[in-house]
Amino acid sequence: MSADRREWPLYEVFVRGKRGLNHVHVGSLHAPDDAMALRHARDVYTRRNEGVSIWVVRTDAITASSPDEKDPLFAPNGDKVYRHPTFYEIPENVPHM
């Protein structure tokens, strides 16, 4: 719970650029909830272009296949689209240019 409070969840954004086209994935953003995610998506990804249609969906609500899922090795994490367990902690006092 406290971790959830620290960061808003990630959302994936899909935009229909004009009538007759599919919604296309354009990127992601953070928002506290669905309604705010829609507002953010409009601000961030459409430059408030009137008339386009936007979908937002929480990233953790997406079920994805793995490109290699024929390989049973990958089945166990086949339902997580974004979190990867490896977080690389950068040691202190190391220049990174």
Partner: protein, 332 residues
Amino acid sequence: MTTTPAEPELQERLQAGFDATIARNDRIEPRDWMPDDYRRTLVRQIAQHAHSEIIGMQPEGAWIGRAPSLRRKAILLAKVQDEAGHGLYLYSACETLGVSRIELTELLLAGRQKYSSIFNYPTLSYADVGTIGWLVDGAAICNQVPLCRTSYGPYGRAMIRICKEESFHQRQGYELLMTMMRGTDAQRAMVQESVDRFWWPSLMMFGPPDGESPNSARSMAWGVKRNSNDELRQRFVDMTVPQADALGVTLPDPDLRWNEERGHHDFGDPDWAELAAVIRGDGPCNAERLRHRRTAHEDGAWVREAASAFASRSAEVAASASAGPSGGAGAR
């Protein structure tokens, strides 16, 4: 669970698959297996790039309030806003590697991840807004265009979006300087003074010379990086010299001249000791830039927390469906 091959054999197979993808010049996508070092290099590079966009809002943002015409104010505000957007795209790309934006922000604030050294130089006149667009964004474009073809899919896609917008940034900068050069003597002097200050730091943006860039070779082998520091620096100088001529400013390098034999311009060495000092944290504005970012982050904590609390409460209200429709998620 299925039986897994012995660890070394598995490792070899995964590595071979990864190598084959890179060799085909194909993209690595978030859920593909990748070597730990590749992931680490990407996180470092993308995070540094994202931080640069966000910290880079400050030197120019400081002039939004003082922009000398309403049109310039609109242009500058839109530009600095784009930088927030670019930072956001890049943090998102980084998140596909399993690191959250807030973690990256905290690493930046702790001084454990870097951003481009150029933003530790001060902006001292309105001409700097133009010079940053022309030289700094010009250098950034040289660095970034090849990254549209970087081997990591989400990074490349973010870069394509960013590069499209960066061309506007450079355009507005150059156009501002051109306009000022047609203005008063004081304005022309302001432009030249600004170019004199930003020329060398712009050249440093490409990083140390190839021989002293420890990570470059590996990044290039992985297709994370596509050109060497020195190649990109040369490309930048070659394209900037005619632009400076057209503008009517001089570039402050006595060694700068066309080399017919090489088909490129020769130019002097930037002060690498200065670059090292700025990277170390001893540049003119390092402390100030981080302090500004930290203040914004800390001042915003209660807002982010409030929005999360409101969202969970709304979700609870929605879940207990029988509650009155206009009781209001926010009502206490």
